[in-house]
Symmetry: C2
Subunit: 213 residues, 2 copies
Protein backbone atom coordinates (compact mmCIF):
# COMPACT_ATOMS: atom_id res chain seq x y z
CA UNK A 1 0.00 0.00 0.00
CA UNK A 2 1.29 3.45 -0.90
CA UNK A 3 2.22 6.08 1.56
CA UNK A 4 -0.68 8.42 2.24
CA UNK A 5 -1.18 10.87 -0.66
CA UNK A 6 1.32 9.16 -2.95
CA UNK A 7 0.23 8.48 -6.51
CA UNK A 8 -0.11 4.82 -7.47
CA UNK A 9 2.63 3.17 -9.50
CA UNK A 10 3.16 4.66 -13.01
CA UNK A 11 0.73 7.52 -12.28
CA UNK A 12 1.76 11.09 -12.00
CA UNK A 13 0.06 14.43 -12.12
CA UNK A 14 -2.78 14.26 -14.61
CA UNK A 15 -1.29 16.98 -16.76
CA UNK A 16 1.90 14.99 -16.97
CA UNK A 17 0.00 11.84 -17.89
CA UNK A 18 -1.92 13.77 -20.53
CA UNK A 19 1.31 15.10 -21.97
CA UNK A 20 2.85 11.63 -21.94
CA UNK A 21 -0.17 10.12 -23.70
CA UNK A 22 -0.09 12.77 -26.41
CA UNK A 23 3.64 12.19 -26.88
CA UNK A 24 3.15 8.44 -27.21
CA UNK A 25 0.35 9.00 -29.72
CA UNK A 26 2.53 11.29 -31.82
CA UNK A 27 5.46 8.89 -31.80
CA UNK A 28 3.13 6.02 -32.60
CA UNK A 29 1.68 7.98 -35.51
CA UNK A 30 5.12 8.58 -37.01
CA UNK A 31 6.10 4.92 -36.58
CA UNK A 32 2.84 3.85 -38.21
CA UNK A 33 3.47 6.07 -41.22
CA UNK A 34 6.96 4.67 -41.65
CA UNK A 35 5.99 1.04 -41.20
CA UNK A 36 2.46 0.69 -42.58
CA UNK A 37 2.21 3.71 -44.87
CA UNK A 38 -0.40 6.42 -44.95
CA UNK A 39 -3.18 4.01 -45.88
CA UNK A 40 -2.36 1.65 -43.02
CA UNK A 41 -2.15 4.41 -40.44
CA UNK A 42 -5.65 4.30 -39.02
CA UNK A 43 -6.51 5.98 -35.74
CA UNK A 44 -7.11 2.54 -34.29
CA UNK A 45 -3.67 1.31 -35.35
CA UNK A 46 -1.99 4.39 -33.90
CA UNK A 47 -3.91 4.10 -30.63
CA UNK A 48 -3.03 0.42 -30.31
CA UNK A 49 0.64 1.12 -30.93
CA UNK A 50 0.52 3.91 -28.33
CA UNK A 51 -1.12 1.54 -25.86
CA UNK A 52 -4.37 3.48 -25.45
CA UNK A 53 -7.93 3.15 -26.72
CA UNK A 54 -9.46 4.88 -29.72
CA UNK A 55 -11.56 6.94 -27.36
CA UNK A 56 -8.47 8.15 -25.53
CA UNK A 57 -6.84 9.05 -28.83
CA UNK A 58 -9.94 10.95 -29.80
CA UNK A 59 -9.94 12.81 -26.53
CA UNK A 60 -6.51 14.19 -27.36
CA UNK A 61 -7.01 14.62 -31.12
CA UNK A 62 -10.57 15.13 -32.20
CA UNK A 63 -10.07 13.96 -35.79
CA UNK A 64 -7.61 11.86 -37.74
CA UNK A 65 -6.53 15.03 -39.55
CA UNK A 66 -5.70 16.73 -36.23
CA UNK A 67 -3.64 13.73 -35.15
CA UNK A 68 -1.54 13.57 -38.29
CA UNK A 69 -1.11 17.32 -38.51
CA UNK A 70 0.30 17.26 -35.00
CA UNK A 71 2.42 14.22 -35.89
CA UNK A 72 3.82 16.12 -38.88
CA UNK A 73 4.86 19.01 -36.63
CA UNK A 74 6.33 16.65 -34.07
CA UNK A 75 8.31 14.78 -36.70
CA UNK A 76 9.56 18.00 -38.29
CA UNK A 77 10.88 19.18 -34.94
CA UNK A 78 12.57 15.83 -34.39
CA UNK A 79 14.21 15.98 -37.80
CA UNK A 80 15.54 19.47 -37.06
CA UNK A 81 16.88 18.33 -33.71
CA UNK A 82 18.55 15.34 -35.35
CA UNK A 83 20.13 17.60 -37.98
CA UNK A 84 21.62 19.86 -35.33
CA UNK A 85 22.89 16.83 -33.42
CA UNK A 86 24.56 15.41 -36.50
CA UNK A 87 26.16 18.75 -37.36
CA UNK A 88 28.13 18.61 -34.14
CA UNK A 89 31.19 16.40 -34.11
CA UNK A 90 31.99 16.30 -37.84
CA UNK A 91 35.67 15.65 -38.66
CA UNK A 92 38.07 18.29 -39.97
CA UNK A 93 40.50 17.75 -42.76
CA UNK A 94 40.20 15.91 -46.04
CA UNK A 95 37.07 13.98 -45.24
CA UNK A 96 35.03 16.87 -43.96
CA UNK A 97 33.16 17.53 -47.19
CA UNK A 98 32.30 13.85 -47.48
CA UNK A 99 31.12 13.83 -43.87
CA UNK A 100 28.90 16.84 -44.51
CA UNK A 101 27.41 15.25 -47.62
CA UNK A 102 26.82 12.06 -45.65
CA UNK A 103 25.18 14.03 -42.85
CA UNK A 104 22.77 15.59 -45.34
CA UNK A 105 21.99 12.23 -46.90
CA UNK A 106 21.30 10.82 -43.44
CA UNK A 107 18.88 13.69 -42.85
CA UNK A 108 16.81 12.36 -45.77
CA UNK A 109 16.94 8.69 -44.87
CA UNK A 110 15.62 6.36 -42.23
CA UNK A 111 12.22 5.84 -40.63
CA UNK A 112 11.45 9.53 -40.19
CA UNK A 113 12.17 10.20 -43.84
CA UNK A 114 9.94 7.23 -44.73
CA UNK A 115 7.16 8.74 -42.62
CA UNK A 116 7.70 12.19 -44.13
CA UNK A 117 7.54 10.75 -47.64
CA UNK A 118 4.20 9.14 -46.86
CA UNK A 119 2.88 12.51 -45.76
CA UNK A 120 4.31 14.26 -48.84
CA UNK A 121 2.62 11.74 -51.10
CA UNK A 122 -0.65 12.23 -49.28
CA UNK A 123 -0.21 16.01 -49.34
CA UNK A 124 0.28 16.02 -53.10
CA UNK A 125 -3.46 15.57 -53.46
CA UNK A 126 -4.79 16.90 -50.16
CA UNK A 127 -4.78 20.72 -50.09
CA UNK A 128 -5.25 21.03 -46.34
CA UNK A 129 -2.42 18.66 -45.50
CA UNK A 130 -0.32 20.35 -48.12
CA UNK A 131 -0.70 23.76 -46.46
CA UNK A 132 0.88 22.21 -43.35
CA UNK A 133 3.62 20.24 -45.08
CA UNK A 134 5.00 22.98 -47.33
CA UNK A 135 6.13 25.52 -44.71
CA UNK A 136 7.56 22.87 -42.39
CA UNK A 137 9.50 21.20 -45.18
CA UNK A 138 10.78 24.55 -46.45
CA UNK A 139 11.94 25.36 -42.94
CA UNK A 140 13.83 22.08 -42.66
CA UNK A 141 15.32 22.65 -46.11
CA UNK A 142 16.52 26.11 -45.17
CA UNK A 143 18.07 24.84 -41.94
CA UNK A 144 19.79 22.01 -43.78
CA UNK A 145 21.10 24.43 -46.41
CA UNK A 146 22.34 26.85 -43.77
CA UNK A 147 24.06 24.07 -41.86
CA UNK A 148 25.70 22.79 -45.03
CA UNK A 149 27.02 26.24 -46.01
CA UNK A 150 28.43 26.76 -42.54
CA UNK A 151 29.95 23.31 -42.18
CA UNK A 152 31.48 23.43 -45.67
CA UNK A 153 32.80 26.94 -45.21
CA UNK A 154 31.15 27.72 -48.53
CA UNK A 155 31.23 31.28 -49.87
CA UNK A 156 27.78 31.88 -51.33
CA UNK A 157 28.81 35.21 -52.85
CA UNK A 158 30.67 33.21 -55.50
CA UNK A 159 28.56 32.24 -58.50
CA UNK A 160 27.38 28.66 -58.48
CA UNK A 161 28.17 27.93 -54.83
CA UNK A 162 24.60 28.28 -53.61
CA UNK A 163 23.39 26.08 -56.47
CA UNK A 164 26.04 23.49 -55.67
CA UNK A 165 24.80 23.31 -52.06
CA UNK A 166 21.21 23.12 -53.28
CA UNK A 167 22.21 20.32 -55.62
CA UNK A 168 23.70 18.47 -52.67
CA UNK A 169 20.39 18.62 -50.81
CA UNK A 170 18.52 17.49 -53.89
CA UNK A 171 20.95 14.60 -54.23
CA UNK A 172 20.24 13.72 -50.58
CA UNK A 173 16.49 13.59 -51.28
CA UNK A 174 17.09 11.53 -54.40
CA UNK A 175 19.19 9.02 -52.51
CA UNK A 176 16.53 8.85 -49.82
CA UNK A 177 13.92 8.10 -52.45
CA UNK A 178 16.12 5.53 -54.16
CA UNK A 179 16.49 3.79 -50.80
CA UNK A 180 12.75 3.65 -50.16
CA UNK A 181 12.13 0.17 -51.52
CA UNK A 182 15.54 -1.48 -51.50
CA UNK A 183 18.72 -1.50 -49.44
CA UNK A 184 20.72 1.02 -51.37
CA UNK A 185 23.56 1.68 -48.95
CA UNK A 186 26.47 0.16 -50.89
CA UNK A 187 25.63 2.08 -54.07
CA UNK A 188 24.97 5.16 -52.01
CA UNK A 189 28.46 5.18 -50.46
CA UNK A 190 30.07 5.37 -53.88
CA UNK A 191 27.74 8.17 -54.97
CA UNK A 192 28.43 10.18 -51.81
CA UNK A 193 32.18 9.78 -52.16
CA UNK A 194 32.21 10.81 -55.78
CA UNK A 195 29.93 13.79 -55.31
CA UNK A 196 31.86 14.96 -52.26
CA UNK A 197 35.06 14.91 -54.32
CA UNK A 198 33.41 16.96 -57.07
CA UNK A 199 31.92 19.36 -54.56
CA UNK A 200 35.19 19.78 -52.66
CA UNK A 201 37.01 20.60 -55.87
CA UNK A 202 34.39 23.14 -56.85
CA UNK A 203 34.41 24.86 -53.45
CA UNK A 204 38.22 24.86 -53.30
CA UNK A 205 38.38 26.46 -56.73
CA UNK A 206 35.91 29.16 -55.68
CA UNK A 207 38.03 29.81 -52.57
CA UNK A 208 41.13 30.13 -54.77
CA UNK A 209 39.33 32.59 -57.04
CA UNK A 210 38.66 34.72 -54.00
CA UNK A 211 42.35 34.58 -52.96
CA UNK A 212 43.48 35.82 -56.36
CA UNK A 213 41.80 39.14 -56.09
Amino acid sequence: MDAPGAAPADRGPQQERSRATRQRLLEAAVECLAQTGAAGSTVGAVAERAGVSRGAAQHHFRTREDLFTAALRHMSQTRLDDLRCRAAGLPEGRSRTEAVVEMLVDAYSGPEFDAALQLWSAAANDPRLRTHVIPLEEHIGREAHRAAVELLGADESKPGVREAVRATLDLARGLGLAGLLTDDRARRRGVIRQWAAMLERELAEKRRDSGRR
Copy 2:
Protein backbone atom coordinates in the same frame (compact mmCIF):
# COMPACT_ATOMS: atom_id res chain seq x y z
CA MET B 1 -28.34 4.45 -92.03
CA ASP B 2 -25.20 2.36 -92.26
CA ALA B 3 -24.23 0.32 -95.25
CA PRO B 4 -25.14 -3.32 -94.82
CA GLY B 5 -22.65 -5.04 -92.50
CA ALA B 6 -20.88 -1.83 -91.46
CA ALA B 7 -20.27 -1.30 -87.75
CA PRO B 8 -22.21 1.55 -86.15
CA ALA B 9 -20.38 4.76 -85.43
CA ASP B 10 -17.47 4.41 -82.96
CA ARG B 11 -17.70 0.60 -82.91
CA GLY B 12 -15.10 -1.68 -84.34
CA PRO B 13 -14.14 -5.27 -84.00
CA GLN B 14 -14.89 -6.42 -80.46
CA GLN B 15 -11.27 -7.33 -79.77
CA GLU B 16 -10.28 -3.85 -80.85
CA ARG B 17 -12.90 -2.30 -78.57
CA SER B 18 -11.73 -4.49 -75.71
CA ARG B 19 -8.16 -3.39 -76.29
CA ALA B 20 -9.25 0.25 -76.44
CA THR B 21 -11.22 -0.02 -73.21
CA ARG B 22 -8.30 -1.59 -71.38
CA GLN B 23 -6.03 1.14 -72.70
CA ARG B 24 -8.38 3.86 -71.53
CA LEU B 25 -8.64 2.21 -68.11
CA LEU B 26 -4.87 2.05 -67.77
CA GLU B 27 -4.42 5.66 -68.83
CA ALA B 28 -7.22 6.70 -66.50
CA ALA B 29 -5.58 4.80 -63.62
CA VAL B 30 -2.29 6.62 -64.16
CA GLU B 31 -4.03 9.98 -64.34
CA CYS B 32 -5.96 9.20 -61.16
CA LEU B 33 -2.77 8.36 -59.30
CA ALA B 34 -1.16 11.60 -60.41
CA GLN B 35 -4.14 13.79 -59.67
CA THR B 36 -5.91 12.22 -56.69
CA GLY B 37 -3.19 10.12 -55.17
CA ALA B 38 -3.20 6.44 -54.29
CA ALA B 39 -5.96 6.87 -51.72
CA GLY B 40 -8.23 8.72 -54.15
CA SER B 41 -7.72 6.22 -56.95
CA THR B 42 -10.72 3.98 -56.42
CA VAL B 43 -11.87 1.59 -59.10
CA GLY B 44 -15.01 3.68 -59.44
CA ALA B 45 -13.02 6.86 -59.99
CA VAL B 46 -10.83 5.19 -62.60
CA ALA B 47 -13.82 3.70 -64.40
CA GLU B 48 -15.60 7.04 -64.45
CA ARG B 49 -12.52 8.79 -65.82
CA ALA B 50 -12.23 6.08 -68.47
CA GLY B 51 -15.88 6.55 -69.36
CA VAL B 52 -16.99 3.02 -68.49
CA SER B 53 -18.84 1.39 -65.63
CA ARG B 54 -17.34 -0.38 -62.62
CA GLY B 55 -18.63 -3.65 -64.00
CA ALA B 56 -16.82 -3.06 -67.27
CA ALA B 57 -13.64 -2.24 -65.39
CA GLN B 58 -14.04 -5.41 -63.41
CA HIS B 59 -14.53 -7.44 -66.52
CA HIS B 60 -11.10 -6.34 -67.74
CA PHE B 61 -9.34 -6.32 -64.34
CA ARG B 62 -10.78 -8.65 -61.77
CA THR B 63 -9.40 -6.81 -58.72
CA ARG B 64 -8.11 -3.35 -57.90
CA GLU B 65 -4.68 -4.90 -57.43
CA ASP B 66 -4.77 -6.32 -60.98
CA LEU B 67 -5.75 -2.92 -62.37
CA PHE B 68 -2.96 -1.02 -60.69
CA THR B 69 -0.36 -3.68 -61.38
CA ALA B 70 -1.22 -3.40 -65.05
CA ALA B 71 -1.22 0.40 -64.81
CA LEU B 72 2.26 0.24 -63.26
CA ARG B 73 3.54 -1.81 -66.20
CA HIS B 74 1.83 0.46 -68.69
CA MET B 75 3.28 3.56 -67.09
CA SER B 76 6.76 2.05 -66.93
CA GLN B 77 6.65 1.30 -70.64
CA THR B 78 5.48 4.84 -71.35
CA ARG B 79 8.29 6.30 -69.27
CA LEU B 80 10.84 4.20 -71.17
CA ASP B 81 9.38 5.29 -74.51
CA ASP B 82 9.49 8.91 -73.38
CA LEU B 83 13.10 8.55 -72.32
CA ARG B 84 14.09 7.18 -75.73
CA CYS B 85 12.18 9.98 -77.42
CA ARG B 86 13.92 12.62 -75.36
CA ALA B 87 17.33 11.09 -76.00
CA ALA B 88 16.93 11.82 -79.70
CA GLY B 89 17.60 15.36 -80.86
CA LEU B 90 19.85 16.56 -78.04
CA PRO B 91 22.21 19.39 -79.03
CA GLU B 92 25.94 18.97 -79.55
CA GLY B 93 28.54 21.31 -78.27
CA ARG B 94 28.86 23.15 -74.99
CA SER B 95 25.33 22.71 -73.79
CA ARG B 96 25.11 18.99 -74.40
CA THR B 97 25.88 17.94 -70.86
CA GLU B 98 23.32 20.37 -69.52
CA ALA B 99 20.78 19.06 -72.03
CA VAL B 100 21.44 15.48 -70.93
CA VAL B 101 21.06 16.39 -67.26
CA GLU B 102 17.86 18.22 -68.08
CA MET B 103 16.59 15.21 -70.01
CA LEU B 104 17.18 12.99 -66.98
CA VAL B 105 15.48 15.45 -64.68
CA ASP B 106 12.51 15.55 -67.04
CA ALA B 107 12.35 11.75 -66.84
CA TYR B 108 11.69 12.09 -63.11
CA SER B 109 9.17 14.90 -63.28
CA GLY B 110 5.64 15.51 -64.46
CA PRO B 111 2.38 13.60 -64.06
CA GLU B 112 3.86 10.17 -64.70
CA PHE B 113 6.49 10.72 -62.08
CA ASP B 114 3.76 11.89 -59.69
CA ALA B 115 1.84 8.69 -60.39
CA ALA B 116 4.97 6.56 -59.99
CA LEU B 117 5.75 8.21 -56.67
CA GLN B 118 2.27 7.37 -55.40
CA LEU B 119 2.86 3.74 -56.27
CA TRP B 120 6.34 3.75 -54.68
CA SER B 121 4.89 5.12 -51.47
CA ALA B 122 2.17 2.50 -51.51
CA ALA B 123 4.72 -0.21 -52.34
CA ALA B 124 6.89 0.74 -49.37
CA ASN B 125 4.42 -1.06 -47.15
CA ASP B 126 2.73 -3.48 -49.55
CA PRO B 127 4.95 -6.49 -50.27
CA ARG B 128 2.99 -7.68 -53.31
CA LEU B 129 3.01 -4.28 -54.99
CA ARG B 130 6.64 -3.89 -54.09
CA THR B 131 7.58 -7.12 -55.95
CA HIS B 132 6.14 -5.51 -59.07
CA VAL B 133 7.59 -2.04 -58.60
CA ILE B 134 11.20 -2.98 -57.84
CA PRO B 135 12.12 -4.79 -61.09
CA LEU B 136 10.35 -2.27 -63.29
CA GLU B 137 11.97 0.68 -61.57
CA GLU B 138 15.39 -0.97 -61.72
CA HIS B 139 14.89 -1.56 -65.42
CA ILE B 140 14.00 2.10 -66.03
CA GLY B 141 16.99 3.15 -63.92
CA ARG B 142 19.35 0.96 -65.93
CA GLU B 143 18.00 2.29 -69.22
CA ALA B 144 18.32 5.87 -68.00
CA HIS B 145 21.87 5.22 -66.83
CA ARG B 146 22.82 3.56 -70.11
CA ALA B 147 21.33 6.44 -72.10
CA ALA B 148 23.17 8.99 -69.96
CA VAL B 149 26.52 7.24 -70.38
CA GLU B 150 26.05 7.04 -74.13
CA LEU B 151 24.82 10.60 -74.57
CA LEU B 152 27.56 12.04 -72.36
CA GLY B 153 30.26 9.96 -74.00
CA ALA B 154 31.26 8.96 -70.51
CA ASP B 155 34.10 6.45 -70.03
CA GLU B 156 32.97 4.18 -67.21
CA SER B 157 36.33 2.44 -67.03
CA LYS B 158 37.64 5.58 -65.33
CA PRO B 159 37.17 5.60 -61.56
CA GLY B 160 34.31 7.73 -60.35
CA VAL B 161 32.59 8.13 -63.73
CA ARG B 162 29.91 5.54 -63.08
CA GLU B 163 29.23 7.02 -59.65
CA ALA B 164 29.00 10.51 -61.17
CA VAL B 165 26.35 9.30 -63.61
CA ARG B 166 24.52 7.51 -60.77
CA ALA B 167 24.64 10.71 -58.76
CA THR B 168 23.07 12.53 -61.70
CA LEU B 169 20.12 10.13 -61.69
CA ASP B 170 19.77 10.51 -57.95
CA LEU B 171 19.77 14.29 -58.40
CA ALA B 172 16.99 13.87 -60.97
CA ARG B 173 14.90 11.91 -58.46
CA GLY B 174 15.62 14.47 -55.78
CA LEU B 175 14.54 17.34 -57.97
CA GLY B 176 11.41 15.43 -58.90
CA LEU B 177 10.62 14.94 -55.24
CA ALA B 178 11.35 18.58 -54.42
CA GLY B 179 8.89 19.58 -57.14
CA LEU B 180 6.12 17.36 -55.83
CA LEU B 181 4.34 19.97 -53.74
CA THR B 182 5.54 23.28 -55.12
CA ASP B 183 6.56 24.81 -58.44
CA ASP B 184 10.27 24.33 -58.25
CA ARG B 185 11.28 25.08 -61.81
CA ALA B 186 13.19 28.34 -61.31
CA ARG B 187 15.36 26.91 -58.53
CA ARG B 188 15.75 23.71 -60.52
CA ARG B 189 17.22 25.48 -63.56
CA GLY B 190 20.04 26.89 -61.48
CA VAL B 191 20.75 23.53 -59.90
CA ILE B 192 20.80 21.76 -63.27
CA ARG B 193 23.17 24.33 -64.76
CA GLN B 194 25.59 24.16 -61.86
CA TRP B 195 25.48 20.37 -61.69
CA ALA B 196 26.06 20.08 -65.42
CA ALA B 197 29.07 22.38 -65.21
CA MET B 198 30.58 20.30 -62.43
CA LEU B 199 29.78 17.05 -64.22
CA GLU B 200 31.22 18.28 -67.53
CA ARG B 201 34.44 19.30 -65.80
CA GLU B 202 34.71 15.93 -64.13
CA LEU B 203 34.10 14.00 -67.35
CA ALA B 204 36.47 16.23 -69.32
CA GLU B 205 39.19 15.65 -66.78
CA LYS B 206 38.70 11.91 -66.95
CA ARG B 207 38.92 12.08 -70.74
CA ARG B 208 42.22 14.05 -70.46
CA ASP B 209 43.58 11.42 -68.07
CA SER B 210 42.90 8.87 -70.74
CA GLY B 211 44.68 10.96 -73.38
CA ARG B 212 47.84 11.25 -71.27
CA ARG B 213 48.60 7.58 -71.34
